[in-house]
Amino acid sequence: MVKKTMSSLKLMCENDMIEQRQKIDSFMAMHFQRSRDSPLERAQATSRSQVKNRKEARQIEISNSLTATQSRIEVLRRTLNLQRSKRDEHKAIISQQLQGLSASTDNTGKVIEGEADIQEAISWYNQVLGFDVEAGHGVKFTFVNIDANNPSREFSFTVHYGDGFYTLLDCDPKLNDIEELLQELNGTNNLFRFVRLMKDGFVKATLPRLSIHSENLHQETSVVPASASVMSNSSDTSIPAPENK
């Protein structure tokens, strides 16, 4: 009996031991497996985590980029609209100005024709009357055909008007009575008469050398009415023949 009990007890203990051993083995195996796998898992987990972070970061980056691009597109769209408005505005202004220019160009054509006539008339005074006017600092009056010995010799003077009176800037050759003439000018304000008187003054300044020539000139001129080369259509009397000096 005791033997049976002992045997069964022994059997029970052995079974219990086997069971316990199995438990321990399985436990050990499980833990060993766990200890063997965790760095890899951790690495994988870390890797997965990193990939996930990178993806997320990339997504955020792309999203930001898209937002920035959309903003830029919006700015460019507004700029384009503004430029189009400016372009249309400029086109309208240019069209207006071109119309104005076209009218001015037509007028300029007529002005140029008129100016040609004016220049021709001025040339007549220069060539026929030997008289030239130039504006600059003051107005310069120049005469030729005064000295018979040297018809091309120039006689000139320059007057300047300022502060309400005339001043003589230059006179070549100098005239003796220039001061009186200038005084008369400032008294009468008659510049045109002054110019004629200055011209006479130049002629008189050359007279001693021209006394013979001027007599010949007047003698020849008195013959002119007979040859009918001087005509008069005045409503008054005809131009009297020059007197002999």
Binding site: L80, Q83, R84, K86, R87, H90, K91, I93, I94, Q97, L98, L101, S104, T105, T108, V111, I112, G114, E115, D117, I118, Q119, A121, I122, W124, Y125, Q127, V128, L129, G130, F131, V133, A135, V139, F141, N145, A148, P151, L191, F192, V195, R196, K199, D200, L217, E220, T221, V224, S227, S229, V230, M231, S232, N233, S234, S235, D236, I239, P240, P242
Partner: protein, 93 residues
């Protein structure tokens, strides 16, 4: 758009140049007219410039409202003589 704007700007510059040129021409025209007025006022002579054969023109007396024609045969007279003859007429007025 950029090319269009560039072209428009060129047109604007060209128009401005032309406008300034017209302004200069008008100013020069005015100066020339004043110059002619000075010649006529000093000499009291209006030339007849379309007469290529003779030297002719008109003596003008604004106060007396008289216009007298003069004429010189350029073939028979030297320039010096014609010039001084006309100035003598001017002097008498």
């Amino acid at each position: 758009m950029a090319d269009e704007l560039k072209d428009l700007n060129s047109q604007v510059a060209l128009i401005e140049e032309q406008r300034l040129a017209i302004k200069r021409n008008k100013r020069d025209q005015l100066r020339t007219e004043k110059k002619l007025s000075m010649y006529a006022s000093v000499t009291k002579v209006i030339p007849k410039i379309d007469d290529s054969v003779k030297t002719s023109g008109y003596m003008v007396d604004r106060d007396k409202r008289i216009i007298e024609k003069f004429e010189f045969d350029t073939d028979k007279r030297a320039d010096y003589e014609t010039c001084n003859s006309i100035w003598e007429i001017i002097k008498r007025k």
